[in-house]
Symmetry: C2
Subunit: 471 residues, 2 copies
């Protein structure tokens, strides 16, 4: 190939055949080798370059596989007719615009009163890893396959037993749909409903659902809370077909929905066909001073409650394991609509969870964390009262992993956010959960205070920082 | 409480306070205790039942927390005004209808020629578990939090380096979006496009995308393949804005898109604003006899290719780790649209993967599996030719984890499916991937033959069973 120079030692680290391949490819793409031009025979090129025939063969085979050349039996190799690129910028434009560059924020030295975390310090990783090995051993062949769209049957069986005991949920494993988070499950559930369907949410409430449902083109109606929770008259007048509630521990206010309001809500659901309540039981496992509050689903006699639970709060958010319990009618629709959906939760994690629950480790861990969180909660509230005195009003409902607190201050929510960053304190206000309405009581702010991820030793310091933020 | 009898030893396994709680609760719900009726004082009830005051206190506190009773300071406890249930069926109807009951299919003794699996037998679980422990140790605090919506930055960094080397992908970590599967990622990507957008798919092609995109209300156009892959003229005339392709190894036909067609496709994308190509590079890591085929994205000079890759094929489907690479313009839209989206891939798995790649174990494993799969592929093809002789035509493109084979037979696809079940052989035909058209060449059937999950020792037996199915 007279037009091509070649130096074996030129390009370090590349095999000889790759250098030949690259050289010929470039000549074809730049038009130096023309369409239907015959390439030298392998032997001839090998002699010319002083390399083995094997190297030339490999180069030709690669060019053939990628469609740069074609072969004709007994005749040899020819250049393909290659379309030219429309743009011929030598320099590919791929500088990432500045606005898309990520700042990696160093959280060293920060303290967190976030409600979105869990405490990992007591997590029994040793046990978890032991069950993981068991899962690998016993379910290896299942790991090579795409799982049942609702998750492995035995894991659903284990979850159904667990929530029957702990939450009074009445269901068959068939009714359980496992997924990589409640958000993902709710998106599937709602994805099969018609655009424009009216959906009622608690206000203040879980803003991620609000955003998601609006993007899905639902007619989303934030419904105000009264003393007992979501206002039934307002639900009724909204014309909603679906209502999202957090009866065990209202998010973010922390209120527990009393039995009377629960019955009213259930009664609302049976008054018309196709009305459903979605019970988001996100942190009901944590209840202090009294026993857990039974789920709304356990009171439902008409299969109008869709129950969702998660292992993000009791265990780790990073696990991505949640589940929902579908009434038979919805389940049938779901299976028809999502026959092609792939289970998105890690199946090794699911089988591991199965053994973790089955052997009692899960219940023991939740029990331990109940005590642990209760202790931290008490300590934090004590410190807050000591520091803030009368300027503080805590909605002291002993449940979950956060509480709502009102502080007297003239500062705005924006100022609070800025000062929290200065003080290296992660804290969230009610502002982000006030759906479609600006929520601000004069001379006060409401904060969602989480206590899951603050160490006992740091509580006093966190309260001091909060004082700087608010004061 | 004269109306309530109570026997400490009656209900085994329940605490005394729970028995009292339950008794009062039932009396309230059935109307035996009336609204605003005063309950006996704790001491009085304790005396009457011969239990400790503590037990009665606990029962009252639980009833209070759930809203069955209310307290008035210095006066005592009163029954709340409880709404009655609309339906009062004693027996809750929750028999799962028969059509929803799951049959657990026993796959014992089955052999699989499915294209959907991977081989787990050589997976280095020991190494994986070692890196998992390292991930727990080094990233414990990250596991307690909700991850970055696109996945941890360091994991994206590692993936971007990996695919730069292995697939020629040019991108920054910022452009990578990790997710629990390609399906989930594509749903997000397309979820922000307008309903009715025209989307072109290869036909035959990946039916799960077809189903999903139709459900998302896109105008989906299956485009036929010619010798070189998807037909550009037909894409152009469809008016599509998005085209889904599998250039490295067309699914399911196995064809490799030659360079000329690649350039034509890229040229198509730049002719109008907002045209994009989605390159699904699902099993490109496996290429036999020649080197890997460079990705389409590596040829793209105009940022019109959205690249997707997965660890489901190279490692395990159950891991649920895939990623896509977004051009800056799409990335900006994505970040705005999905600011509230929660990363759905297990973060412990992601950090583990990070070390697995960084330490070279991933590349070593892929290389090993390349040899392993090549060997199984050759053996399977040899056995097929021996058994079926001239009645078989294999599209012998040495890549990926499956190939397409045409068998002469008068049987229908339905008959083939039925007989495969009888013979306990998992095998899929092209029928399910023929989008919107019935695909059937007279007196022949096309099967997608996967070789990932069949043991070397079972290949001969699987071919014998296939002979029974087809013959």
């Amino acid at each position: 190939m007279r037009f091509m120079t070649f130096d074996k030692n030129n390009e370090q680290g590349k095999y000889i055949y790759q250098q030949i391949y690259k050289g010929i490819k470039e000549r074809i793409l730049t038009g130096k080798l023309q369409s239907d031009e015959k390439l030298p025979s392998k032997r001839k090129l090998a002699d010319q370059f002083k390399v083995s025939v094997n190297s030339v063969t490999n180069a030709y085979e690669q060019l053939l596989a990628e469609g740069y050349i074609y072969s004709m039996e007994r005749k040899g190799y020819y250049v393909e007719n290659i379309t030219q690129f429309i743009t011929q910028d030598e320099q590919r434009i791929n500088n990432l615009p500045n606005d898309l560059k990520e700042e990696v924020i160093d959280k060293e030295g920060w303290l967190s009163l976030s409600h979105m975390t869990s405490d990992i310090s007591l997590f029994p990783f040793k046990q978890w890893l032991k069950y993981q090995e068991k899962a690998i051993k016993n379910h290896a062949s299942k790991l090579t396959e795409i799982e049942h769209p609702q998750g492995p049957y035995i894991v659903r069986q284990t979850i159904s037993r667990l929530i029957a005991l702990s939450r009074g949920i009445i269901c068959e494993p068939e009714q359980i749909v496992i997924g990589a988070g409640t958000q993902s499950l709710i998106r599937n559930l709602m994805g099969m409903q018609e655009d424009g369907t009216i959906v009622a949410l608690e206000n203040p409430g879980y803003s991620r659902f609000h955003t998601m449902l609006e993007k899905m083109d639902f007619d989303v109606r934030p419904i105000p809370l009264d003393e007992d929770g979501i206002n039934i008259t307002r639900i009724e007048s909204s014309g909603a077909r679906f209502v999202f509630v957090t009866p065990s521990h209202q998010f973010p206010t922390g209120k527990i929905m009393p039995i009377s309001r629960r019955i009213e809500l259930l009664n609302w659901s049976v008054k018309l066909e196709n009305r459903y309540i979605i019970e988001d039981d996100y942190d009901s496992e944590f209840k202090y001073e009294t026993d857990n509050i039974p789920s709304l689903q356990s009171l439902d006699r008409n299969q109008r409650v869709i129950y969702t639970g998660t292992f993000s709060k009791t265990m780790l958010p990073g696990l991505r394991i949640s589940y929902m319990v579908l009434p038979p009618k919805i389940l049938r629709d779901y299976q028809n609509y999502y026959a092609d959906l792939i289970q998105d939760s890690n199946s090794l994690g699911l089988y591991t969870l199965h053994y973790f629950i089955e052997n009692g480790d899960y219940s023991r861990y939740v029990k331990k964390m109940n005590h642990h969180y209760e202790m931290k909660r008490k300590l934090l509230i004590k410190h807050l009262h000591l520091k803030f005195g009368d300027t503080l009003d805590i909605k002291d409902i002993p449940a979950g992993l956060h509480f709502l607190a009102r502080f007297q201050t003239t500062r705005s929510y924006k100022q609070i956010d800025e000062r929290a960053t200065q003080e290296r304190l992660e804290i969230y206000s009610i502002k982000r959960f006030s759906l479609e309405t600006s929520y601000k009581v004069e001379n006060s702010i409401d904060l969602i205070i989480g206590f899951a991820n603050i160490d006992k030793e740091n509580i006093s310091e966190a309260v001091d920082r909060l004082y700087e933020v608010i004061g």
